[in-house]
Subunit: 464 residues, 2 copies
């Protein structure tokens, strides 16, 4: 069969690129391992099921604020099976909708493992089909990493592919890794009543350079307040199987017993055994495919998107790169890869959202930096909603006022950040943001106020 | 005492303008009736206390979705006094913060009724002080309207100044008026267990032209599903006091008994007895002060903002106009009144947000209109959060692609709309919106998808 475009992988990046390509008139096919993996990691074993459980945790948390609203709950019972059913129902619904929609727009999904035979030929193992393609998009995603002795066995050590299969809330869980996934599960399990120990090698949770120190510390404190036992600068020395589950020796000299270890130490790109080397697609020493601004690999007609192009493994990065690639195949140069406009959002005890540069990153790039911060503590809408914690922090170039980054921690940070994402993409400055219209009362007001702190100077300047 | 600026009214508009003026270096004073009315209607008897109660109603509503998240609540008890205490606590905290902050930045608040003596002189009754001012900003707000026989008496007929004083949830309440306030209280009382009858003269709830038919009908259906007895094309014919409260004859031929009638039929500007006529400030036949694009009245050094300038009585309109006025006093012409960029947000059983033109309004202005709609039903984040109802609707100029309006109904519509508010202010088109970065999963994705429906054509075009 001959196509304009064959896409290896029907995850977030591949699927979005396929819809976009169909929309733009390309004869397109998707290659995906099997019907159960359509939607990829995000849908099946990542952001979608975790966000579902996280919303449940958020609901459990609401019991605490209810009394202030004249609501006295008479207790509640938690049931893991119901949670899991609800979660899987959402995942399966989205997955089946995907497939139906593909059928509807006549987008074939060929099941099997796709391998490049030459730059225009894909052989699909399993389906035993050979596809010819003018363009190829590699969207094969990633798999969970393991470290040293911590090899996932699905029983004592679970990785983020396996965690979905547990049958009940753990009594006690040890989470290894304080990144986005670690803090998300820490909040989920803690809210649902588990004891949670979180170990992180670095000196804070969310150790990524893209997340400012302030946001990370804020979340860390909040998790601690909820009772999560956070151990930074700590890792696992050894572990053994015991009747209760696992007994783990930590590098802080303590021993803990837990039902199991959840391994959340990052992911590795799926770039092996795809025939990349054979057709000349260059891969770096970490296994990432080398791409230019248009998501094009070293082979002109072969593009790549998502987890295989860089360590920033986010579904929307994959989706955006997929569109960039298709757009470029059709001659468009207006869309370009730009990690600075990609928001990073973590859903834990609060939402943590970042886009663009942190203050530290901006200073490292030799900007003179201005920062404006507004707390949600006194934000009327946040107060009305009983969630007045966190802040908005805007980082700007002192000379030009250009908005370099925005970092929000607090209610709906993950949605709020978008208004700044769009304006950063457009190169807007703090003057523009401060002169925008923000409804009252709204959480969004805190964005305008932060910009005004920079543009007009702090409101308390009259005293200085 | 002499000031650069004296502001009559320390409500949303007056207070915001004062902060802005201080920030810009003007010697400013606020005149406000009394210490308990600082913050004006929005803070004391409007958006802030109602949003608090609305969030409580939303929390009560969450009990319905909890089972899907593995949470089985064992019942709950409702207590009006606790709700009221929590609500009043937020209001008082914000009000006192306001006052403390004014003191901190040396912004005097003079208590009493301010009246213009001449264009530069304000006499404050009560305080018995005379203030001289280079500029004056009128920010006196509005008061609830009454109609015919329905005169608020605080017992049988309550207006929106009086509703805050009730001592318990009503068993049964008749709400007159299906606008923003009516549908908000209908949801609050219904969620907290009251029987609610809502009568509206027009043929739908939210009858404002600024809210599209689709949004209004959607909300109406949702309220009905919750059990609100909505009677459109209906009004009150007569009422009488009975032991249970009131017996009301409606124009649909029925009689209903309720604890009381809540009157939510709009507001009238506070422009009487301020000395406006005497100093030459022109007022129209509805009592609104005539202002130009810069919120300037017919008297050069006197400006007006908020509820007294037009029937669009929103706190953020007042706040924005206050800033426009101050900016213009200081020579700035870059900020202008523009009701098209003012979002209208209603917090009821769902959030309803609109900015810019509706499809009908755009057609009336002879635009060739394109519309792109995306449902939240299949939005993954909305599904995860158990709130996948509603839609995003973008109205664009077919010729240029310019975004003319955006209408969102669904979760966090009131925050989501801001990203479009800013882009409409900047004259952006659907191409810009469709090429933006939206995180996945997020509710915001529905905005990009709606824009893409217009820019690329509906995704199903291949079948046409």
């Amino acid at each position: 069969m001959e196509f304009d475009l064959v896409i290896l992988g029907a995850g977030s990046g591949g699927y979005e690129a396929a819809l976009y390509a169909v929309r733009r008139g390309m004869k397109t096919a998707l290659v995906e391992l099997n019907p159960a993996s359509v939607g990829g990691n995000c849908l099946n074993k990542g952001c979608i099921p975790s966000k579902y459980m996280r919303y449940g945790a958020f609901l459990v948390d609401r019991f605490k604020v209810m009394p202030r609203y004249g609501i006295t709950p008479q207790g509640y019972v938690l049931n893991y099976q119901r949670l899991r059913e609800g979660r899987d129902d959402v995942v399966i619904t989205i997955r089946e909708n995907f497939k139906k929609f593909a059928q509807h727009i006549k987008l074939p999904i060929i099941y099997g493992r796709g391998v490049l035979r030459d730059r225009n030929t894909i052989y699909v193992e399993g389906a035993n089909e050979t596809l010819k393609a003018k363009y190829v998009l590699l969207a094969t995603g990633s798999h969970p990493a393991a470290v040293g002795d911590l090899q996932p066995d699905g029983k004592h050590v679970l990785d983020t592919d396996q965690i979905w299969e547990i049958e009940d809330f753990p009594k006690r869980v040890l989470i290894v890794g304080g990144g986005a996934v670690g803090v998300e599960f820490a909040y989920i399990f803690k809210s649902y009543g588990s004891d949670v120990i979180l170990v992180e090698l670095k000196d804070r949770v969310l150790p990524s350079d893209d997340i400012p120190e302030d946001s990370a510390r804020f979340l860390g404190r909040k998790l601690k307040k909820l009772g999560v036992d956070i151990r930074t600068k700590t890792s696992v020395e050894s572990w053994e199987s015991v009747p209760e589950g696992v007994k783990v020796s930590l590098t802080d000299g303590t021993e803990v017993i837990a039902d199991f270890i959840l391994l959340a130490v990052g992911r590795r790109p799926n770039t092996d055994n795809l025939g990349l080397k054979e057709v000349g697609v260059e891969v770096n020493d970490k296994g990432f495919v080398k791409v230019n601004d248009f998501a094009q690999t070293s082979v002109e007609n072969i593009y790549a998107c998502g987890d295989i192009t860089s360590p920033l493994m986010l579904a929307h990065k994959a989706m955006y790169e997929g569109k960039i690639a298709v757009n470029h195949m059709l001659g468009g140069q207006d869309l370009k890869r730009n990690e600075r406009i990609i928001p990073k959002i973590i859903y834990s005890a609060v939402e943590v959202a970042s886009v663009g540069l942190t203050e530290d990153q901006a200073e490292d790039l030799d900007y003179e930096v201005s920062v404006g911060t507004t707390s949600f503590t006194t934000n009327p809408k946040a107060m009305d909603d009983g969630e007045n914690e966190g802040f908005v922090r805007i980082v700007a170039d002192e000379d030009t006022g250009e908005v370099l980054g925005c970092h929000i921690i607090g209610p709906y940070a993950g949605e709020l950040i978008h208004q700044v994402v769009h304006l950063i993409r457009d190169g807007k400055d703090v003057e523009f943001l401060s002169k925008n219209m923000y409804s009252h009362p709204s959480l969004s007001e805190a964005i305008g106020q932060s910009a005004s702190e920079i543009y007009y100077g702090p409101i308390t300047w009259v005293k200085r």
